[in-house]
Amino acid sequence: MSTQPPDSSDYESEHVHQVYEQIASHFSSTRYKPWPIVERFLLSLPDGSIGLDIGCGNGKYLSVNKNVYILASDRSTNLTKIASTHQPHSALVADTIALPHKPASFDFAISIAVVHHLSTPERRREAIHSILALLRRAENGKEAGKALIYVWALEQKDSRRGWDSGNDQDVLVPWVMKEKRPKQPKKNRSKDSTADEDPTKKDENVDLENNSAVGPKHQSGEKTFHRYYHLYRSGELEQDITHADGLVLDSGYEKDNWWAIASPKS
């Protein structure tokens, strides 16, 4: 049984965009460690490459390589402000499906943990298509631009959430935000206010489902937000890329996520 969300960007506005805008600062404090596949991709680029970080969040990938130039964008103004502090890059507020860039002009793009927030197959494919459309086409012996796309996997039975094939792919995932209590001694702080990010522990420390473990501290000064996710099953990302007129160059699984590197078809 799938609880297919309504086919509407209003749904994403409520269950994705508004949530990130409100949790921006707390979310950002838990997002600073680059995921290995993404770091490797960015460090493999020739110096002087020009590319995009689509759905850049707080811009944690903007500190990986200062020898390339990245135009980063996000729907959330609050996250974009944080991202804009990373030199020599640029950050702006824009929608993945209507980016303010010239088609066929960039060497690379990354879109990390973004496409899974779109609520229908059509919109996910449209997003991938619009990312690929911005990449250079192959010409004069020079290969086409490359995009790294990274989405949350359905198959993550060893993660704390424990989802696996057969589970519903369209889910609302809680984010619990605690208000700061300034005079609380450090050792008494509950685990969820000292989030660190590791691909293996994604969102662990803000997971409402297990809040009984945290005890009564959870009762005051907290607010729960729900974000919509489409959890990708094995092979689905590659299918979406093919439908979006893309060529899959490489793909794989890393710590609860599926990733693929793709180019536009010439």
Binding site: K66, S90, L92, P100, H101
Partner: protein, 130 residues
């Protein structure tokens, strides 16, 4: 938003992208501010060939900022011992350290205005315009 960014921005509307009038966007009521960025000669060398120089010249003239009418040759960027020349430093200052902190960016094709506030340009469109 640093001026270099504008070299890579068009109107966000699909219908405008095929029009040469949608690039570059035109700054309007722009407030400028200088912010330090570490100088990198390699970054400058790499980025120069990727600039649409005529568009950057037009843009700078709209902002009353100086930019030579022709692209500086690679040899003009460094002197003896690979020391950056004044012209390299000036370009770095103009492209990377000069920011639009407030104002608007206007599409020359459809006239749509994108706001810049606190240095952040907002390209979100109302649903009927996408």
């Amino acid at each position: 938003m640093k001026l270099l960014t504008l070299n890579f921005l068009t109107c966000a509307r699909r219908t405008c992208k095929s029009s040469p009038l949608s690039f570059p966007l035109h700054p309007c009521d722009a407030e400028l501010e200088i912010a330090d960025v570490d100088f990198s000669l390699d970054f400058l060398r790499n980025i120069l060939p990727r600039l649409e120089w005529d568009a950057m010249v037009a843009l700078c003239s709209e902002l009353s900022l100086p930019l030579s009418a022709t692209v500086p040759a690679a040899a003009e960027l460094s002197g003896a011992g690979d020391e950056p020349t004044q012209s390299a430093k000036d370009l770095h200052h103009l492209l990377l350290e000069t920011n639009i902190t407030a104002g608007k960016l206007v599409c020359g094709n459809c006239g749509h205005e994108y706001a810049i506030k606190e240095g952040i340009a907002n390209f979100l469109l109302p649903a009927h315009m996408v």
